[in-house]
Amino acid sequence: MNVFAAIGRVTLGFFRETGRLSLFTADSVTGVVRPPVYWWLIAQQMMRIGYFSLPVVGLTAFFTGGVLALQIYNGASRYGAESFVPVVVLVGITRELGPVIAGLMVAGRVAAAIAAEIGTMRVTEQIDALTTLSTNPIKYLVVPRLIAAVISMPILVAIADSIGVFGGYIASTQSLGFNGSVYMNNTMNGLTFDDVSSGLIKAAVFGFIIALLGCYNGFNSKGGAQGVGAATTNAVVTSSILILAANYLLTNLLFTK
């Protein structure tokens, strides 16, 4: 009997959580189109989510591009296909690694920060205080973060793409003996609009996931410091998993024709 009870509890919990998240998402998305719009808060969040994530995203993109070039060279040289290194690095970075690596890094940085901030506001009754001051907490706290993340992530990924390709260029010219101008030429010839734009679409979706789960976990944190800690961990774990799952679905959608 206990086995069934346990399965039932887990199943009910899963559906309850899914339902709650869906309602929260619906509330947040309708909040985007209803006035007032807090322009200043959106700008402030774009600074925090986008601009301050640049160093960490740039560094990871640089090293990822470099390591990608090294490994592709290793594999390609077995078949004498070294000349494909630039274009494979380009495709790998723009289609997959740029958005995914940036998404995961920003999830760790931003989803955690959002969940901790909003979670602390929840347990210190600051969110209730917003309601008593005629301010809708979803519109004031969630909507600016959602908008800022959806706008910032594609910009961040565009920059990460360039830095990643540059990382591949540095590795190829410095350790693999590629000629710099030939490498750049191959890269430019391989550059297509679809590769880059699909990565940017992914980035916008990842931005939405990061802000939404950061806010959702913060809003639902309970208790004191421990509750906020749990909310922060949950925000990072759930947003990372959802980013990877969404990446699979989007790749399926965008590239299988």
Binding site: E125, D128, Y140
Partner: protein, 260 residues
């Protein structure tokens, strides 16, 4: 003073609220007359906070009705509901100041965000309201984290009175303060309330504070009001629950739910 038989400022009828299996409010009835200062007393976990959050519109009751100036809040929605909720202000237990904003913006928040007052004008009003709670203009630029607990309560009170509310709610106004600061806050509440002529609803388990700031007291136990009357009659209530609570005795009808 209100004429007898006038419309109550706030009235709760049969309000019920449960969280999962736990029944918190179990058909609560309460009447708050205009101009009165009502304190609801009760032990921890008896549903005082939940009651106040239902009235404030933060929580939705599962059943029952809440009236504000004769309007049924529980049936309103959208803008009409927002208009009713604008009559309320609340001083939270931990002051609940927004730590990302300086003190003056905290006080002016409801004016700027909720009522569209221009920032410069709202700042002037905020400094006036800070003066009313005994804080100088120099405090206005500080961050809430730089203030002591008593000063945070004062700022919270200034924020509550900033938009000239009809009804102010106080959640444990003296909890966490030393006895002297508690008395200072009590005096401040009394003078502010007198000054503004507002109706107040407070919840507390501090009997000293309850006697001081109220003219009427109601006692909440297990999600229901078990006694209500003027503060002067609290010592002659002949109610075993009230007697046990005001004397702070472990013996009596109230059984503490102590979990191992």
């Amino acid at each position: 003073m209100p004429a007898p038989g006038s419309v109550p400022k706030v009235e709760l009828r049969g309000v019920k609220k449960r969280f999962g299996d736990k029944v918190v409010l179990d058909g609560l009835d309460l009447v708050l007359q205009p101009g009165h200062s009502l304190v609801v007393i009760g032990g921890s976990g008896t549903g005082k906070s939940v009651m106040i959050k239902c009235v404030l519109g933060i929580l939705r009751p599962d059943a029952g009705q809440i009236f504000v100036d004769g309007q049924e809040l529980t049936r309103l929605s959208g803008r009409a509901r927002d208009e009713v909720l604008k009559k309320f202000a609340m001083l939270f237990q931990g002051a609940a100041l927004f730590d990302s904003l300086p003190v003056w913006e905290n006080v002016a928040f409801g004016l700027i965000q909720g009522r569209g007052v221009a920032r410069a004008k709202a700042k002037d009003i905020a400094i006036q309201k800070l003066a009313k709670v005994g804080l100088g203009a120099d405090v206005a630029m500080l961050s809430p984290a730089e203030l002591s607990g008593g000063m945070q309560k004062r700022v919270g009170l200034a924020r509550a009175i900033a938009a000239d509310p009809d009804i102010i709610f106080f959640d444990e106004p003296t909890t966490g303060l030393d006895p002297i600061m508690a008395d200072v806050i009590n005096d401040l509440i009394i003078s502010t309330v007198k000054d503004l002529g507002v109706t107040t609803l407070s919840i507390t388990h501090d009997m000293v504070s309850a006697r001081k700031i109220s003219d009427h007291i109601a006692m909440l136990y297990k999600g229901k009001i078990v006694w209500a009357g003027p503060t002067a009659e609290i010592d002659h209530s002949d109610n075993p629950f009230v007697d046990q609570f005001i004397h702070g005795s472990a013996e009596g009808p109230i059984k503490m739910e102590v979990r191992a």
